[in-house]
């Protein structure tokens, strides 16, 4: 993936002017909303000042125990504001969602533990296991979704991200 991608870690991840990802990431333009997903992993590198720092770099391979970060960026390239924007991302079975890792911006974050049929916020999500209902754990999550609470204005951009660990 694009090695030029940078991730801004300061505060609110939503409405940050993220660079548009080009290169190998195909950008689909449909219905006036451009959306892109990338996957990266954390790597500890030594910078020009000799200090070690953790950077996110584009990932093509992964080993068990490694943490990866998925980022979905979106931009309203249409002529009207987009309403009721919901970004939904499945969590592969071999990945385990990292608790608290979903960026929230001012979006409502919900999870599904039943393959995307029903969603709820983390503290209220339950699962029926052997006929018994129990609270869902992060390892049970099959989907994460972000629900925008406001309109996405013409020309506005945003992003949503979450981290997962390969089992």
């Amino acid at each position: 993936m694009s090695a030029k991608t940078k991730r801004y870690t300061a505060g609110n991840a939503f409405f940050l002017a993220l660079p548009i990802l080009l290169g190998s990431s195909a950008v689909l333009a449909q219905g006036h909303l451009d959306v892109t997903t990338t996957v990266q992993k954390e790597m500890v590198v030594t910078n020009e000042n000799g200090e070690t720092e953790t950077r996110l770099i584009g990932a093509e391979t992964v080993v068990p125990g490694e943490r990866v970060v998925y980022t979905i960026t979106f931009e309203n390239t249409g002529a009207d504001a987009a309403e009721n924007v919901v970004i939904t991302n499945p969590i592969a079975e071999s990945l385990s969602y990292v608790a608290g890792s979903a960026s929230n911006g001012d979006m409502r974050i919900e999870f599904s533990a039943d393959g995307g049929r029903t969603f709820g916020i983390a503290s209220e999500l339950t699962l029926v296991d052997d006929g018994i209902e129990r609270p869902a754990t992060t390892g049970d999550y099959t989907h994460v979704r972000w629900i925008m609470q406001t309109e996405l204005d013409v020309g506005a951009k945003g992003s949503a991200s979450f981290a997962a660990i390969l089992e």
Partner: protein, 336 residues
């Protein structure tokens, strides 16, 4: 008259119960295999929104992650501390070696006995590394020796093998001395700091990456020198029919045998056997253990009067350690 009492003990006790516990713990760990090498993880997000009341859904591009091989190995001592005496040979320590990576891995095994901090170095038997080929958990004649480069263990992801280190105990060790012996398992792909990459050396030619173990792991087992000491003392008191203490016909002899374990270790399945002296007759129902009466019959309690071969008393004391304190056996005979 002081015919030799005999204390039979089945040798030092190995804490087999603890060993079984360790094995159960291990089996609970099994099944934690990582995602297999070569797994492809695709991710596509979808975004729904309304434009002027018209619902629309768009899909993002699809990202692809390929799972490559993580090299990891764990060595875990299974044996409790082994109680030994000087100059014993072929004392075995059991280890479990597990491939905790997500691909197949060939390992080499090595023994190291020069370890700082112990009191003596166990002496490697020749050979010193064996597989627990019969799966018994005990070092037996069926177990096959490890030959480096010839029968290196090749373990699938999450597979494990049990390995013995076999050592002799040198002469000149003292009670309480500790000797350590270390087993190291090393990936033949390579070792390095976690994250070290071995391009193209994983299963099926994918990259391999050193995991938290760095591709090498070891664990240390211990031998503790403890010379168990068993003191058996027999005393007698004579009461003659005339109120005196002369060994005349009709006099009663009361034998008192005390058994004391000192030092660490245990005498397992110990039993005291004491023949009834010639020209004397056992006094029925006179046998006691720690002042508690024992019947003469076999099978109902820990003591019996046995006439199968020659008349003798038998008291089964079971497993004895120093914590049991002094055991006292008494019985009477009369002089014929």
């Amino acid at each position: 008259m002081m015919a030799g009492s005999r204390l039979v003990a089945a040798g030092r006790r190995l804490r087999v119960i603890a060993l079984h516990g360790a094995l159960l713990t291990y089996s609970a760990v099994a099944g934690a295999a990582g995602t297999p090498v070569g797994t492809v993880i695709e991710n596509t997000a979808s975004v729904t929104f309304d434009f002027a009341g018209t619902p629309t859904t768009v899909q993002t591009n699809t990202t692809t992650l390929t799972v490559v091989e993580r090299i990891d190995v764990v060595v875990t001592l299974q044996s409790p501390q082994i109680i030994v005496a000087g100059e014993e040979s072929d004392r075995a320590l059991l280890f479990n070696v597990t491939n905790t990576g997500n691909g197949s891995e060939e390992l080499t095994l090595a023994i190291q006995n020069a370890i700082a901090g112990d009191d003596f170095d166990p002496v490697e038997a020749v050979p010193a590394i064996y597989f627990d080929s019969d799966g018994s958990g005990d070092f037996t004649a069926a177990d096959q020796p490890y030959e480096p480069g010839v029968n290196n263990p090749v373990l699938a992801a999450d597979e494990s093998v049990d390995v013995f280190l076999v050592n002799d105990i040198p002469a000149g060790v003292d009670d309480g001395d500790l000797g350590q012996s270390q087993l190291t398992a090393t990936s033949t792909t390579g070792t390095g700091a976690p994250g070290t990459e071995f391009p193209g050396q994983g299963d099926g030619g994918v990259d391999a990456v050193a995991g938290p173990s760095g591709g090498e792991a070891s664990d240390i087992g211990e031998y503790l020198v403890s010379e168990i000491q068993i003191d058996v003392v027999k005393a007698q008191t004579i009461a003659d029919p005339f109120g005196g203490d002369q060994p005349v016909p009709g006099a009663t002899i009361t034998y008192t045998i005390t058994i004391q374990i000192t030092n660490s270790g245990a005498a397992t399945a110990s039993a005291l056997e004491d023949p009834i002296p010639s020209f004397t007759t056992y006094v029925p129902d006179s046998l006691t253990l720690n002042a508690a009466p024992l019947t003469d019959a076999a099978g109902d309690d820990s003591g019996e009067y046995d006439t199968t071969v020659e008349p003798k008393i038998i008291v089964r004391l079971g497993d004895l350690t120093s914590a049991d304190g002094i055991q006292t056996v008494e019985f009477d005979v009369t002089i014929d």
